[in-house]
Amino acid sequence: MGFFNRIKAGLKKTSSVLNTDIRDLFKTEGRLVDDQFLDELFATLVKTDIGGKAGTEIRDRIQNTFRGRVIHMTEALDAVKQHLKELLAQPEESIRYATSGPTVVMVVGVNGSGKTTSIAKLAHMFRTQGKSVVLGAGDTFRAAAVQQLTIWAERLGVEIVTGEPGADPASVAHRAVSTALSEGKDVCILDTAGRLQTQVNLMKELEKIHRVIGKQIESSPHEVLLVLDATAGQNGISQARGFSEAANCTGLVLAKLDGTAKGGVVVPIRQEFDLPVKFIGVGETPEDLVLFNADEFSEALFDEQTV
């Protein structure tokens, strides 16, 4: 080591002593919470798809709490988890049911997010709760979408109302709700075609469906669930905004959480729109729908991460 380097190293030690909180001065383990520490934390946060804004916010929060302390990364992450648990916490009511008559659940989302599979899972869940279900196959656009839902209906033993390809989805929704009313079904789940939130006409179509069934049963649909692909990144925020504006979303279903994706984008969505996650999809069978649990989710966001 050269002379100057030695001086530098010496000074570094001094400065780290000066920067260290007195509580941690004699700790032999852990690391000083400095810029490098915080940058690493930020990288860990961003990798969950939580986004730059929420990531920076949490980074600053940790900085304010721990700056100058010597801690383990796990301690910082525990604080982050605690914060997220509080942020994402919600009463564990799954579905807001109608006080009387059928409960109408409308399911919306972008193409390929997992709407149809999620509907099958929801139908299965209602069935196991002893409720009768009718499905409305409102995706009259995509090739064979109706068949896909019909196959599920057969497998699950629930009734389904379908329309011709290209038919007005609002008319299918209307008939499905009528069927639920006349046959005294407990739950009516309406499928809709996948659409991007930027397609104005298609978003208007959602508004129309919403309006039409609102006239059939007052205060319906009781739930409008936005199905979000867990692999989706920051565009999820735009999806939440667009679908909430058009269809008054009441909650999220976070699908495909069984992969390596973390689905962290629900954090900024919760911050910005107060839209709770109601269910998570964790597999391809009808049983693979689980009630969202903020504690478990927050823990899972950061597991397998090398700290």
């Binding site: 798809d49 930027t198 565009n235």
Partner: protein, 488 residues
């Protein structure tokens, strides 16, 4: 009226001098900005850091154009790097003479089946005979979906609902395609998670047994940080030959493409831009780079600076000026370059110390008028405006929809301008600046007289001592005069 041309030239001269270079210190803010933007675009964080490190090394020491800030210059350089990284363009499907087998794979819901339909349509347009194979035996009605698509575009679809092994389906399908004299087989495989080892192994088995010529990964344009994981898994299990990114008709920035490209290194073939079967476009890195980077306003500025300072064009203009061949046509060309809506105002704002146009001035309208006048001239008139007599002038004015005195004004000013520009060509920067200043003072360049007169020295400097001496002398003279007045 010649303001635009004048400013174009001035700014070009200015840029030749250069305004500074990119350094570690002045790049810091810009790097931070870009990093944030790329995070919002869903580029994987590790990829961002790797990319930024390389770019900042490359950008170090680069000259800053015009009055761009270092951050703006940096954003421009980063876009260039992104374009390079996303390229090269290769939208060819590399069809073989006899039978080509394409295989599409990807996560659930990424858009494989729809993309199969779109590819088939493209192939038909190119006089090929595609043959679709329903190898997705997982998702309910996936086979039906492909059959419906096949019917819509008139492409045979192979499926066999009795067979549960997709490898066998694919093998049978390739045989059938040969008897049906199709020349491109497209395998639509089931969506699968990258961590589903069993299904990934199945995919590898299809790859091994059926030996597709090209394997494409279909990726959802809205994918987040996870894009690297899935791309890596697919790239490890199969040897990918290309990537197709879907759902880019929305507002997703598509940063996942950079992650996928970084991991796989294979060319991006197409992008899906809609639900309809014709919405498949060959990939263009330029558009995608801007989309991922965002920062449209800054990129706008960079583009303006580069338009004004296209060095090659400037060189050509220079030669023309020097040879005295600068005609009204060249003038129009310069105008057109500058006539993009709003460009003029923006450009002027970027050039410090230049005569500013008032915000409310109808610059674009003015340019339109000038163009119209020149357009209404014959080639001969453009080359030699002297031939324009009153009757020609009337004709031109009618053609351009202006008063004939406006035609006159243009010609007069061009006459004044041309020799001056000629004299300017070939001079050094200082010479040019002097020439321009001279022009401004003569008021020739600016008939409206908007140009501020630069203060000129008298050529003499008076120090305090001399000034006091002079004051004393003046006072002495005054007293003398008063005395003389009294005496009278």
């Amino acid at each position: 009226m010649f303001q635009s041309l004048q400013d174009g030239l001035q700014s070009a001269f200015k840029s030749l001098r250069g305004k500074g270079k990119l350094s570690d210190a002045n790049m810091r803010d810009g790097l931070k900005l870009v990093e944030q933007s790329l995070i919002e675009a869903d580029v994987n964080f590790a990829v961002i850091q790797d990319f930024m490190a390389r770019v900042s090394e490359k950008a170090l020491g680069r000259r800053i154009l015009l009055s761009l800030t270092p951050s703006e210059e940096l954003v421009g350089i980063i876009r260039d790097e992104l374009i390079e990284l996303l390229g090269p363009v290769d939208s060819s499907l590399h069809l073989r003479g006899d039978l080509t087998v394409l295989m599409l794979c990807g996560l659930q819901g990424s858009g494989k089946t729809t993309t199969c339909g779109k590819l088939s349509r493209l192939l038909i347009q190119n006089k090929q005979k595609p043959f679709l194979v329903a190898a997705d035996l997982q998702r309910p009605a996936a086979i039906d979906q492909l059959h419906v698509l096949g019917e819509q575009i008139g492409v045979p679809v192979y499926s066999d609902k009795d067979i549960t092994d997709p490898v066998k389906v694919c093998q049978d399908a390739v045989k059938r395609a040969q008897t049906e004299q199709a020349n491109v087989v497209i395998l639509d495989t089931a969506g699968r998670l990258a961590i589903d080892e069993e299904l990934m192994a199945e995919l590898a088995r299809i790859d091994k047994r059926v030996k597709p010529d090209q394997v494409y990964l279909v990726t959802d344009g809205m994918t987040g940080q996870d894009a690297v994981n899935s791309a890596k898994a697919f790239n490890d299990a199969l040897e990918l030959d290309g990537v197709i990114m879907t759902k880019l008709d929305g507002d997703a920035r598509g940063g996942a493409l950079l992650s996928v490209k970084h991991v796989t290194g294979v060319p991006v073939k197409f992008i899906g831009t809609g639900e309809h079967l014709d919405a498949l476009e060959p990939f263009r890195p330029e558009g995608m780079a801007s989309r991922i980077l965002g920062m449209g306003d800054i990129l706008g500025l960079v583009d303006i600076a580069r338009t004004v300072v296209d060095e090659r064009e400037q060189q050509q203009l220079e030669e023309k000026l020097q040879a005295g061949e600068f005609t009204l046509d060249d003038f129009k060309e310069q105008l057109e370059k500058l006539a993009r809506p709003g460009l003029m105002g923006n450009m002027l704002k970027m050039i410090p110390g230049m005569p500013k146009m008032e915000e409310d001035m109808d610059t674009d309208g003015e340019v339109q008028r000038l163009r119209a006048i020149i357009d209404s001239m014959t080639l001969d008139e453009r080359r030699n405006p002297k031939v324009i007599d009153p009757s020609r002038r009337q004709r031109i004015a009618r053609g351009a929809g202006v008063q004939s005195n406006q035609v006159n004004e243009l010609v007069k000013q061009f006459d004044m301008m041309a020799p001056i520009m000629k004299s300017m060509a070939g001079k050094g920067i200082k010479g040019r600046m002097d020439a321009i200043r001279e022009l401004q003072q003569s008021g020739m360049l600016d008939p409206g007289g908007r140009a501020p007169r630069t203060k000129q020295g008298t050529g003499k400097r008076i120090n305090t001592k001399n000034r006091n001496k002079m004051r004393k002398m003046r006072e002495k003279e005054l007293r003398k005069k008063r005395r003389q007045n009294k005496m009278r």
